[in-house]
Symmetry: C2
Subunit: 421 residues, 2 copies
């Protein structure tokens, strides 16, 4: 170890996207290693709108591993954090920063303590896969700090042990988590099917739905499903493998109709096996159902599907529109059916890529109030519009994978003290 009087702090800041599964992961065959019972496929979301930024730092002056999430210190004692830290340290390499006069030999990493700060640019508790982005970012940034030789796919197998779906956040675009066959989990990792430029017409709108009921965590929910559902094994063994092959083809060929059919039916089947769990698990609520009905009615009225939907372990809808024009038409429909509460301004009700709102010709609340029923709604009786059923919408698109932010202004830790800025 080098440096002047052990006062140095070495750090790396990285940004990692979140992802949404279009063929779902639900059920583990190994709880400790987090090995799934089927492959899954996801779309990576644009990190400009949904991402985690993490700064990892090391210094001989740190007396223990510490972590801060969104500015608040949290415990690193959980088995999942510990798994990731252990796996990364075991692969650490020599690191030299000649400018700062620092040299760390790979054996030293076992003794050096870490400070980690992580920040989500979206609400953590909103059910938007914050743990996936978070664990992926932790693993990616530590791998850079410790100079790991592993590629992102190999890193994904480490992130997987922190949070299953985190492994899919190691790549941008379209990603497959291969369940693998090995008992030690070494082949249960993510591969990129196509990057975000391959199918760059797609636009994603997320409805963050107000929830009243406390949700079942994914971890305990999928355990209960595997233990009690009479349908989950059939899904994992017979249904999903075919859908994975079909979905890979749909992505390869930018076949939106097939993509939509598979994404929607697989989301619905995931929620079906949750309902087949005992006691049953409900993640979707009446608002989720109404969003599905709105999209289904429109898709069926058109010659080809316009929008795919998918729901994770919560009531939020993730809608994927075939292009910008469709996204603008979707946003009109969503605002017609789910207007904001009177005290909410449009600017905080539609966040992310606000240009979609412009495309939809909506500048202010008057434009929202002037929206009329879309043509596919036959009975022009105004449907019950409960304001406040949706908290807000996020407009985004498929996006890129993890990146190192070399500009120190992005760092979440003070480069001199290694404490949160």
């Amino acid at each position: 170890m080098g440096g002047e009087a052990e006062k140095w702090v070495l750090m790396v800041t990285a940004r990692t996207p979140t992802n949404i599964a279009v063929i779902k992961y639900w059920g583990k065959r190994d709880e400790t290693l987090i090995l799934p019972i089927n492959d899954s496929i996801s779309v990576t979301l644009d990190p400009s709108h949904l991402c985690t930024t993490t700064t990892v730092s090391v210094s001989p002056s740190f007396d223990q591993d510490r972590m801060w999430l969104n500015g608040k210190e949290i415990s690193l004692q959980g088995g999942r954090f510990q798994s990731c830290l252990r796996e990364i340290r075991a692969r650490a390499q020599d690191v030299e920063d000649k400018k700062k006069g620092i040299k760390i030999n790979k054996e030293d990493w076992q003794k050096l303590n870490l400070h980690i700060a992580s920040y989500n640019n979206f609400p953590t508790a909103a059910g938007l896969a914050s743990s996936a982005a978070g664990l992926a970012c932790l693993v990616f940034s530590l791998a850079k700090l410790m100079n790991l030789k592993e590629d992102n796919s190999q890193l994904s197998a480490i992130a997987r042990q922190g949070s299953g779906s985190a492994c899919r956040s190691l790549y941008g675009g379209f990603v497959k988590w291969c369940m693998g066959k090995e008992e030690n989990g070494s082949d249960s990792l993510a591969v990129q099917l196509a990057d975000e430029k391959h199918w760059d017409e797609l636009v994603i709108i997320i409805a963050v739905v107000s929830a009243q009921q406390k949700e079942t965590s994914s971890t305990s929910g999928m355990r209960d499903t595997v233990e009690t559902s009479a349908l989950i094994e059939h899904r994992a063994k017979e249904v999903v493998p075919k859908r994975i092959t079909e979905m890979e083809g749909a992505i390869q060929n930018r076949d939106f109709a097939t993509f939509t059919r598979l994404a929607c039916t697989d989301s619905n089947q995931f929620h079906a096996v949750c309902l087949d769990t005992y006691p049953p698990i409900f993640y979707m609520n009446d608002t989720s159902h109404r969003i599905i009905s709105c999209v289904e009615k429109w898709n069926r009225a058109e010659e080809t599907p316009q929008v795919a939907y998918t729901f994770d372990a919560g009531p939020n809808a993730v809608m994927i529109a075939r292009n910008r024009k469709t996204a603008a038409l979707l946003l009109q429909r969503l605002l017609y059916n789910f207007p904001p509460q009177s005290d909410t301004d449009l600017d905080s009700y539609i966040i992310g890529d606000k240009s979609i709102l412009q495309d939809a010709g909506i500048k202010d609340m008057k434009d929202v109030e002037a929206l009329t029923a879309p043509p596919e709604v036959k009975d022009k009786i105004p449907t019950e519009k409960s304001k406040g059923d949706v908290s807000y919408f996020i407009c985004t698109r498929p996006g890129g994978g993890p990146v190192v932010l070399s500009d120190e202004t992005h760092a979440l830790l003070n480069p001199l003290t290694g404490l949160p800025k």
Copy 2:
């Protein structure tokens, strides 16, 4: 044919119960004959609270078949009515009423026209299986009028062609609809597993839940499920047969714990395959989910299950309590979570067997307002109590099968004119 100057009217009035499936029927293998893809088991509900009364009459003066439902004339042209009428007429026998001096030879039934009047003692549109009771009552009363030799099981195979689940309303107590193997449907009929006295402790409470969305009809819903669900075949072939055997045993042994587990999981699985249909079908809503959570929480807090729940093709909950004491405790919980709207009086909010309300110690709205959270609710934060989510509750029990009402005061048709009274 006899009688003075063709002026006679001969009639029969019968009453038939509705039924609730505890192992569900969902999916046909033959749409015309109404042959199911799996066996099902139901509990017959006490006709004092839920039944259809039907008067069928014949007279040489009738110039066409006519039918009135709840006082309003309806068409008999539907294929399902016609199937039942054709099958019954084909089995008609000689009928003689010496007192009235009437003699009808079996060949005459093909030429004689019928007047039919039917009345439900519960709201027809509330999703309470009115068509099951109605078709069963039509077939049963016509069979009596035309002196058929067939027993109730053979009659059930005719009622089945009017409405699948109607076949299970030909018996009281606990009834199994055997799917059968024959292509012509002759062995797809109902058999009684046990009569209503076999397990007479059970108490049933039905929550009629206010629905906002228009529901998918069972007929089109189950067709869509069979055509699009990737799970329905596995359910019908692998899951249901085992549950049928287990449920027969549970009923035989009055094993409430097994009965509850099977009834709840099978209801949930039926709704799971609806969700796995494309586009998905939602019959339960947020209120249904809250009722399930309330029951599940209580069942898990007790050493053995207290209440089973099951939902048909709508949001209404049918809850089966192990005995009267449990039913009173259930009613307290239901009224605590789902109080009536301020303008509703208790007497119209709890209908049917009101003695359960007395057992629960509830005399008026003050008693409802004084209810406290049940012990199994840990966080004593009052949950959101949306008044009006439940329209009303019906307290009832397992009941008997069809009966002829020989007292002419029950007749719905005028004995002289054959027209509605």
